[in-house]
Subunit: 355 residues, 2 copies
């Protein structure tokens, strides 16, 4: 049941940053959404309040045992001034799968969608309109019970904060260089890799920093058991175009079920381009490359939408893909998806939700 | 360099809870310690302040990407009124290993020890003295920079909170029933299992809850690669006495390097009881039991010190250890360790640090 949302407007509107200098997750809008949970009363007291600090007991479980989940999605302003959300139902469905894995209570889909709509309505003037910009939305849940026993919390806060974000690629879509990680592991089957939970990102920081120091933008994660099957790239899903067919790692339990990934698969099927979800080894990729069959590679995620991969480095063995340039299919997918998202192209899939 | 600690005493001392009803991590003392970190200035502004809420931007990295580490140790009040800490240098050394894995800046050992001493001094009257009670100390670091990009934080808070805790075993040491976990995995080599970081505990909650529902106190974790080698039990290390020799899983990268574990090994060596750190499979354990050679099993950790295991259940196959009773060696180790910790026995190892 959707409860009435109390709306408390700020008296001090912030100055909006220049749309040319937004960056990612640096500026926050004037308001945020909060919903509380207590064992016994369930989720209660939905409210939109001025963006403000969270006040928590230092023993709150989120600080000690990491019981927390999050989501990420974007709102776009169309040329004719409408506001569109990209597949928000997928986010609440995934949030609930994450909740289940982290022993966090279920949150109703309608409550989530209503919260998004109410908050966006209040901060509507924060949605940028310059090409490539959007409003990044970060819903998250934290365990707030002050107790040091290792057990699920009896109290939670569900919150939504929002940040106007710039064009991911300042100078057009540019391929990235990726380091294939052989030492660190992001997630393993039986673990929390398919949940969108904080600990997965903390676990990836060292690898990311070491790759950066070697001149690589991100890492390609291999599976934790055999250390040879491809999982994800940084915090994106990954696709390879091999001899005309598009391949992506199957959802095996340790990979995040990306909403962009799912949409790319649908788009490819719609175009009658063959796409396969399967287990892909890193050796296999190098073999295909040797035979001249590895045509394109790209990461997919909400932040960048499509991120072409120009180079892989596995144990010092460098592999240049498509001469280090953005492939034709990568570019076409980027145009198509961002066109649907910003309303410049029709939406044959019924993905967009108007606010 | 140890900076002068500013001490701000509370004007409203709390009423102390009854030493008979302390529980674990439920009550907190009157004060806490805080030290801030900013890239550029490093760790600064050490202070003891009244126990109070933490105020953080909702975009603080700890909420989203789990960049956080913690420690756990105890202070004991001796019969003659002295206050003893158990091996605190081991805690700061482990904290720094966790810091390194989580891309959190190094914290000097002296700064940590001084912080502990200053805080304990101010809240000295909170250390309980009834048999089995102690003051549980929780140092932790959280990433506080408000930024949604996935990268190490530029700001942190190191804090210490303290909680008077009761006797772990209300009616003397009692064996626990343990469910051998075959579905969920706590950690894998290359991951963060050997770091004391929040995400590891969040990852374990589901298994723990499902085991509880089946009537088991905790789970025994198997390795994530082969799903057959023994790692830990709940959030304790684990030992098995087999035919007179004590066996414990070797530190392989996915197991926490427990300070109690290390102390038990030293104590056994001191008694000339053979002890082996090695890879132990669950099948092997069942085989030894069949042959009548599995004599005792116990978990070790700061909270319980020694927790005897009376039953294991692996895929429905129940194994009763020592008739479900506390073994002789388990009891002897418990007496010895808690005796050293509370000052009723001499400390041949030089473990205790007086405050
Ligand atoms: C680990 C990880 N993999 C993949 C993705 C891509 O998911 P989505 O397309 O839903 O943004 C994300 C989120 O951006 C992620 O955090
Ligand atoms: C996962 C885990 N294993 C083992 C231990 C035991 O370590 P220690 O003996 O240092 O308390 C702990 C901490 O209590 C732990 O959290």
């Amino acid at each position: 049941m959707v409860q009435a949302v109390e709306i408390q407007r700020t008296q001090n509107k912030k100055e909006k940053p220049s749309e040319q200098k937004l960056g990612f997750g640096v500026h926050y809008t004037d308001h945020m959404f909060i919903l509380d949970y207590d064992a016994g009363s369930g989720w209660h007291s939905p409210r939109v309040v001025p963006y403000q600090p969270i006040v928590l007991d230092p023993a709150a479980k989120v600080f000690h045992y990491g019981q927390t989940v999050f989501e990420g999605l974007k709102a776009y302003r169309t040329e004719d001034g409408r506001v569109l959300l990209f597949r928000p139902n997928k986010n609440i469905q995934r949030l609930n799968r994450s909740n289940e894995r982290l022993s966090i209570p279920y949150l109703e889909e309608d409550v989530f969608i209503d919260a998004l709509k109410q908050l966006i309505e209040v901060d509507r003037d924060w949605i940028p309109s310059s090409p490539g910009t959007s409003l990044y939305i970060r819903p998250f849940i934290i365990a707030t019970q002050p107790a040091l026993g290792v057990a699920p919390s009896t109290q939670y806060k569900f919150m939504i904060i929002m940040s106007p974000v710039g064009a991911y690629y300042a100078n057009g879509v540019n391929p990235v260089k990726i380091y294939v990680e052989s030492h660190y592991v992001r997630a393993v089957n039986g673990g929390v890799g398919e949940a969108k939970t904080a600990g997965n990102y903390a676990a990836g920081l060292s690898a990311q920093e070491e790759a950066k120091a070697k001149g690589y933008e991100q890492v390609l994660w291999l599976d934790g058991v055999h250390r040879k099957y491809i999982e994800e790239v940084g915090s994106m899903n990954v696709f390879f175009k091999i001899n005309g067919t598009v391949h992506t790692p199957a959802l095996n339990g340790s990979i995040l079920d990306g909403i962009t990934r799912n949409s790319i698969i649908q788009q490819l099927q719609h175009w009658n381009i063959p796409v396969e979800e399967r287990t892909i080894s890193i050796e296999e990729l190098y073999d295909y490359h040797e035979k001249g069959m590895l045509e394109e590679a790209f990461g997919t995620g909400t932040a960048a939408v499509i991120s072409p991969i120009g180079e892989l480095n596995w144990r010092g063995d460098k592999l240049i893909i498509n001469n280090g340039e953005t492939g034709e299919l990568s570019a076409k997918l980027y145009e198509s998806l961002t066109g649907i998202q910003t309303g410049t192209l029709p939406d044959p899939f019924g993905w967009m939700v108007e606010v």
